[in-house]
Symmetry: C2
């Protein structure tokens, strides 16, 4: 905690490298804490404090004016930081080298070309990330190839589309920004092809069941997806504008725009050159956000963060964390002992009318970490079924069988996803078990949530699985069994009308409505594995319990039902 | 935790009184746990498992068909519970008396008039609540006076409005249901007058600052509010239909409909008559939901719950809790040791385009409980300012100065309120401090949240206050000082354009934009208290720090700024 009412009038020199979220938050907070300090921020670019996460929405024309991405009610320029924040900001100024012995930073002005040395008592490195640029043949001199790193990039992309009447684009990379850009450009009427090396979407973020649903929603909305290869070459037209790309397998895709979104790596060059400890995930910092040199702090996208569940270092480039880092750094420079506890790996993105969010560990990662992981897939309306705006969401919840601890979640759908992600992120950060989650007193009223919130239902289903009352089976495993031709029954327990309307077409499929199961179960074979399915898996679980009560011993239900079935469905 | 894969085939007799959320959840869950048990549910009314919380939306015509309030995809009637759930349900059957010695319930069929005795091994009381009916002169025989307790009530209200072309209504009572009903009826085009005894809206749920904003939003949307008195008398027309009401002060209000929403009290008559322990908040149960007779459980609206923060007993009549209770009761009857941890007092309601939510203790209650309570009022957009759907919400967050523990919150506005309430409800249930809250890794992307979520900003402001960096003053106190004519300066630090556009009109008001404060502070008197104000209190806090750095010693900022100022504002 901070010293009571501390107004410090000692005069230290603080130099901050980087004028975006972390750097400027550090400067502003530190000014409020230590009015006597001399605070200088050097920023390589021309814009300060911009919302890079807003670029897809600017390019997609949801946001009309790029200037609105800067600052809040007032434009945040040099004058603003001088007059309001009492901070000296030097844009278009590159930090070239850190001299730790002399405690000085060599800077280079892009405008005057002059070099200068800024001495510091404490230095803050907030240099963000640099885009990963794959080796693509022919990009030099071709108009229409962009990353989406800076405000200038975002403005140039939009200008290029408008100036050249671009009708089709290729997006290289299937990360958050790639998917968000795809949506934005489809909404503008462009024909989009997304090219990515990996087979799954966001495999570090989502397990396969959810990843497949994400991919399906992209194609349902008209995005063409090419997986298993990168963009290898660009093809210009006679004017030097992009005409198309060629993939590694020599596939040609016509496109007037190529957006390279292969992710970012931490911009740790200055730190490395200065001999500070760095790693795969960026500059290494302790929980106080201090580098291996106690006079140098670092925060934002350029540092590695600890995953609070696995304890692993990870790089999570998010404006939210950069702001939290900045505040902690300022408080520690002011003499506090503020600690950054690490990250839950929470992420969210909009994908047409769907939202996809996640927090904590995936099931895959939980198993890798040695947890006895149990998972459930629970679809349900995000409000009571009778409320007109009730919309479906799917929660995959992952827990530890031994302790009941909540390890992670993935949430997807057209309904209210963000709330459920944040409830679970908060809960797992505070060490909650499935039992805690299942008894939360959440805000209930029909316009906002069903009586039992989706999170509570998912926690109950998880508890059932941990207690071996419910036994589930991933749709991925069911599909594998069908494809292999295993000898089992997929028992669909929905109503005849529902079954007629849509169903899985496979020889293993049998139909017997739940309401008949208590009387007609004897028509089912006792010598075969039965996998029960319904729409959401609630009735299938009920059916599993009914069959077990009747002495059937080899019964499971399919997690998530038809709603979460990412493969083909027959409709009539 | 439950015994692994337990299918119990012993045959116990279970009787459940009440066929709504808690009773039917108990029955359904218990059937899945104990297939051999004999389970009977007796329900006094004709409808089962209905969503009473949906009534305002049915009456307001948001929900068209009352039948959709019952059950899920399928209608939940006797046949459904028999065929699907394997549970015997007896609607239109009253439980008249419990004979604890004989372990039997005397029941009376409304259809046949026959009495019967049902013996039990375990009994569950889930009798819900009964509406509080004030003494109103002349109600007998008058058409058009209703409570909103049962499906029949809801259907009758709607029918009465339509049959008689009702144009105006009086709502007696200003609780959640009263406010929700007011909205529904205004949206239908009715002229609404809300009559309530208390001066504040929902004083047990919201502190005065928020309560005043709630009342203002009601009147802004055309609801007339009469406080300080009850409806005393109804006036019929010649046909015996309601023509108007008379209040205690003999004020007449024309109205074709009177809705009495004076709240509910726990329906504990059977329990009391049977000698079970009951209290002010309903039937007394232990953490296993067992009454003072171990063979009798009770849950839902008829029981008292423990407030997890204060430890006090409270009655929180919510379908969400009733469902959680039902599950715990079933598990305990099945032999588990499931515990209900208590409630956070979370509530939410829709009020025109606003949402009002709350959790934990109010500041008033926290002080009463002996906490050294600190509170902040933090308005802000619910998404980045540049995102088109960004909308304002206000968070009042309450914490304990000694431990930093989060004690409660109230959230109000047209933006995404429910998410913030649920994050804080989850956090305080798990014992979070403001520091925990301020470092949460929440889901960030422009369509969903600002980079620093409103919850995180509120937690930071709370930490600032606890550390005495920020010093706030409630708008209520500022208004009192203005009304008393205290000698102080209200320093508005917004831009000249903002000040011209809207401001507080009072002799104490001075204007000096934040950007001039570092240079022109010397124009301010040093011998007077300065209360700094801006739009949201962010700039005012900055101003407070600047003035303190310049040696001003008596400076505070007004919590929540003009956004949360519930009194008159001059506009030009």
């Amino acid at each position: 905690m901070m010293a009571a009412n501390s107004v410090r009038s000692d005069a230290k020199k603080i130099v901050i490298i980087g004028g975006n979220a972390c750097g400027l938050k550090t400067a502003s907070r530190l000014r409020r804490r230590c009015p006597g300090y001399d605070i200088t921020v050097v920023e390589q670019g021309r814009y300060l404090s911009y919302g890079a996460c807003g670029f897809p929405y600017y390019v997609g024309d949801v946001i009309k004016d790029y200037r609105s991405l800067m600052g809040g009610a007032a434009l945040r320029d040099e004058a603003y930081f001088r007059d309001v924040k009492g901070v000296r900001v030097r844009p278009l100024t590159e930090a070239v080298r850190i001299d730790r012995e002399k405690k000085a930073v060599e800077i280079l002005s892009a405008q005057s070309g002059e070099r200068e040395s800024l001495s510091y008592d404490t230095l803050v490195i907030a240099t963000g990330g640099v885009p990963t640029l794959p080796d693509i043949e022919g990009v030099d001199g071709v108009q229409g190839v962009f990353t989406a790193t800076t405000v200038d990039d975002a403005v140039a992309i939009k200008k290029h589309i408008e100036a050249h009447g671009v009708k089709s684009a290729v997006i290289a990379g299937g990360g958050f920004i790639g998917v968000e850009m795809a949506e934005g450009l489809v909404e503008r009427g462009l024909d989009i092809t997304l090219v990515k090396k990996g087979a799954s979407f966001l495999p570090a973020m989502f397990d396969e069941e959810i990843s497949l649903l994400i991919a399906r929603h992209m194609t349902d909305n008209g995005v063409k997806i090419i997986t298993g290869e990168n963009v290898a070459q660009v093809l210009p037209d006679a004017d030097g504008n992009l005409a198309g790309v060629v993939t590694e397998s020599r596939r040609k895709v016509a496109a007037g725009l190529l957006l390279v979104t292969k992710g970012f790596r931490p911009n740790d060059r200055l730190a490395r050159d200065a001999g500070l400890e760095t790693g795969r995930t960026g500059i290494v910092v302790n929980t106080k956000m201090q580098t291996s040199d106690p006079a140098i702090y670092a925060g934002g996208d350029c540092v590695g963060c600890t995953d609070i569940i696995s304890g692993n270092a990870m790089n999570l480039a998010l404006g939210s964390l950069a702001n939290i880092h900045g505040r902690i750094i300022a408080d520690n420079i002011a003499g506090d002992d503020e600690v950054f506890p690490g990250v839950a790996g929470t992420g969210i993105f909009k994908m047409f009318n769907y939202t996809a969010g996640r927090t904590g560990l995936t099931e895959r990662e939980a198993v890798k970490q040695g947890y006895d992981a149990v998972s459930v897939i629970v679809p349900g309306p995000d409000k009571p079924h009778y409320y007109p705006t009730a919309t479906l969401i799917i929660i995959k919840l992952i827990g530890d069988r031994q302790t009941g601890r909540v390890l992670g979640a993935q949430v997807l759908g057209a309904g209210e996803v963000a709330k459920r992600v944040d409830i679970i992120a908060t809960a797992l950060t505070l060490g909650a078990t499935a039992d805690h989650l299942s008894k939360l007193n959440l805000a209930y009223s029909p316009p906002y949530a069903p009586a039992l919130d989706n999170v509570i239902v998912a926690a109950n289903v998880l508890k059932n699985k941990i207690a071996c009352l419910g036994r589930g089976c991933s749709p991925i495993r069911v599909k594998e069994k069908m494809d292999r031709g295993d000898d089992f029954i997929y028992l669909d327990v929905r109503s005849p009308a529902e079954f007629k309307n849509m169903r899985i077409d496979h020889p293993s499929v049998m139909h017997l409505p739940l309401g008949k199961l208590r009387t007609d179960a004897e028509t089912l074979p006792r010598d075969k594995e039965i996998i029960v399915g319904c729409m959401s898996s609630l009735r299938a679980y009920e059916a599993q319990r009914i069959l077990e009560a009747k002495g059937f011993t080899d019964v499971v239900y399919m997690d998530g039902g038809l709603v979460a079935w990412p493969f083909e469905i027959s409709r009539s």
